[in-house]
């Protein structure tokens, strides 16, 4: 299937000489939720800004639904909605007017029914005549999303959509994003909250120091890079790992009361059964056990640290 966004050898060097993006290739599939992860200053916003036309690229090209974002910017931009990171709104406008303004700006004829739907979906309907300056931060964030959706875009960029947003609104927003995807909108979001990517994304890209170091299906990424651990709370402290257990990836805590076994979750044999039998044979009793799987956060931290 033809990708909805196709980034080819895109790079950006600012006038100061700072290279924000090294040549990047990236394909976004139609209808997916793509999460772009990366530490501060990694180049996430630069990448989005180039695609949306706010920053000029130094080299390379971007196609949005087949339209070059520079040469054929009108057609490309009509398909794209952007919710930037910063809360920037026209303080003195009403919610209704500012959202209607955005629709016109993006070349669409007025459609009060659509604006009404967007405002209702975002729980903004009862605020439609309020001036934006009177709204809370979370409400302003909703207004910015409403503006981005006003012209019925096929591609939505959410740059840190839930930064500084309370738990309830975060849940609402996730629900809204899922609803949008169900209606066929492709969503690209950047986030600091890795659990957000874990919850929402179909695919994940990790960007660090201007380099796209990984693009992977979320499930595959979690499988491939995720490790599982079995932690045993011992009845009696052990001075050292017994020789009978040599060959297992075991770690003993300093106080000798906790034994941690790391294993590959994908492996045919995890080895847990044999390990437990050996422990029994060696007369080592345990009072509790738990298994845990590394989260996307652990994977992410490992990846970024590796490249540091």
């Amino acid at each position: 299937m033809q990708p909805i966004i196709s980034v080819q050898q895109l790079s950006k060097t600012y006038a100061s000489g700072f290279q924000a993006l090294k040549p990047i290739d990236l394909q976004i599939r139609k209808g997916e939720i793509f999460a772009l992860l990366g530490p501060n200053g990694a180049g996430k916003t630069t990448l989005i800004s180039i695609i949306c036309g706010i920053v000029n690229p130094s080299a390379g090209s971007v196609l949005a639904d087949g339209h070059d974002v520079v040469r054929d910017y009108r057609a490309a931009r009509m398909k794209i909605g952007l919710v930037p990171q910063e809360l920037t709104t026209d303080s003195f406008e009403t919610v209704w007017n500012t959202v209607s303004f955005s629709r016109g700006l993006f070349g669409r004829s007025p459609n009060p029914a659509h604006i009404e739907k967007v405002l209702k979906d975002l729980s903004l309907w009862n605020k439609k005549d309020s001036r934006i300056i009177t709204l809370s931060g979370g409400m302003k964030r909703r207004v910015m999303i409403a503006k981005a959706l006003s012209h019925e875009p096929q591609i939505l960029f959410l740059d840190e959509p839930t930064a500084g947003v309370d738990v309830e609104l975060r849940r609402d927003m996730w629900e809204m994003v899922r609803g949008l995807r169900a209606s066929g909108v492709t969503i690209i979001l950047t986030t600091h909250y890795i659990d957000e990517a874990e919850q929402m994304a179909d695919r994940i890209g990790v960007i660090n120091k201007g380099e796209l170091i990984l693009v992977e299906d979320k499930a595959e990424l979690m499988n491939k890079l995720g490790r599982k651990q079995l932690t045993l709370q011992l009845q009696d402290a052990l001075p050292a790992i017994p020789a009978a257990l040599d060959g297992y990836a075991l770690e003993l805590s300093d106080d000798g009361r906790q034994l941690v076994y790391s294993f590959d979750a994908q492996g045919e044999h995890t080895g847990i059964d044999v390990l437990l039998r050996r422990l029994a044979e060696a007369g080592i009793d345990f009072k509790d056990l738990k298994t845990s799987q590394s989260s996307l956060e652990d994977i992410f931290v490992d990846l970024v640290r590796e490249r540091a």
Partner: protein, 253 residues
């Protein structure tokens, strides 16, 4: 052509005028009225007419121009500077609008505002002094051309300015002196010969002279030159705006 886009920007800017009606419309009217009270009625009544026009009537075109220039510049410069300042410019930059459409929206709105203001000032002036308009069509041409040209100039200042001080700098230090010295309150023939030559380097002289001619049929410089100079200034501003969008100057990284 993204007509809806132009209309959105234009409508947004005009809404801003309505929100700040007192500042946008009322305060220039009050200050112009004060000029008429002081120069037109009080001092003017003790002065001889110039070129056969009573002093009160003589200053009417100059005063309209004074407001037109300062308001065009301040409206247009603020209109584009403010979105840059608060960050809402992202939306304009990411929208499917061409540079021409952006300029048409912002400059169109600023010029409209100034023209409305000019008309209000003319009506206000009529309450203080009696005057006629010899060439109404040319009066409108000069009014519109000047409003558009100086709104473009204001737009350029708004893009160039990266702080509020710069935004005020050009209007305050350059435009206001040039306007006062451009013959708003006198005919340049009243100046010593040397200064008559120097003053011809002031572009505002041509605007005021041409505009005054459309009222009373008398002018300091020939009306053709006035029109030509106005068009030259318009062309320079258009060229600068074209360059700004081409290079992304102060708009895009």
């Amino acid at each position: 052509m993204n007509i809806h886009g132009i209309r959105a920007i234009y409508g947004f800017e005009m809404a801003r005028t309505r929100r700040t009606l007192l500042q946008s419309i009322v305060s220039p009217v009050i200050s112009t009225s004060l000029y008429f009270v002081v120069f037109g009625a009080a001092i003017g009544s003790h002065m001889n007419g110039i070129d056969g026009v009573s002093y009160g009537a003589f200053i009417v075109p100059g005063l309209v121009m004074l407001s037109l220039l300062t308001q065009s510049i301040s409206n247009a410069s603020f209109g584009i500077y403010f979105p840059k300042f608060v960050g809402t410019i992202y939306e304009i930059l990411s929208a499917p609008v061409s540079p021409f459409e952006i300029v048409a929206g912002y400059v169109g709105a600023a010029a409209s505002k100034s023209i409305i203001l000019g008309a209000i000032i003319l009506v206000t002036a009529r309450l203080f002094v009696t005057f006629g308009i010899a060439h109404p069509l040319w009066m409108v041409v000069f009014l519109v051309l000047t409003a558009v040209t100086f709104s473009l100039f204001g737009f350029i200042i708004g893009i160039w300015a990266d702080n509020f001080e710069k935004l005020q700098l050009v209007p305050l230090l350059i435009v206001t002196p040039l306007t006062f010295l451009g013959g708003s309150f006198y005919s340049i023939h009243m100046l010593p010969p040397l200064w008559q030559k120097v003053t011809l380097f002031n572009p505002v002289v041509y605007l005021i002279s041409g505009f005054r001619w459309s009222f009373y049929g008398v002018s300091d410089v020939s009306v053709g030159i006035s029109l030509g100079m106005t068009l030259v200034f318009l062309a320079i501003c258009l060229g600068l705006v074209w360059w700004i969008f081409r290079s992304g100057y102060r708009l895009k990284a």
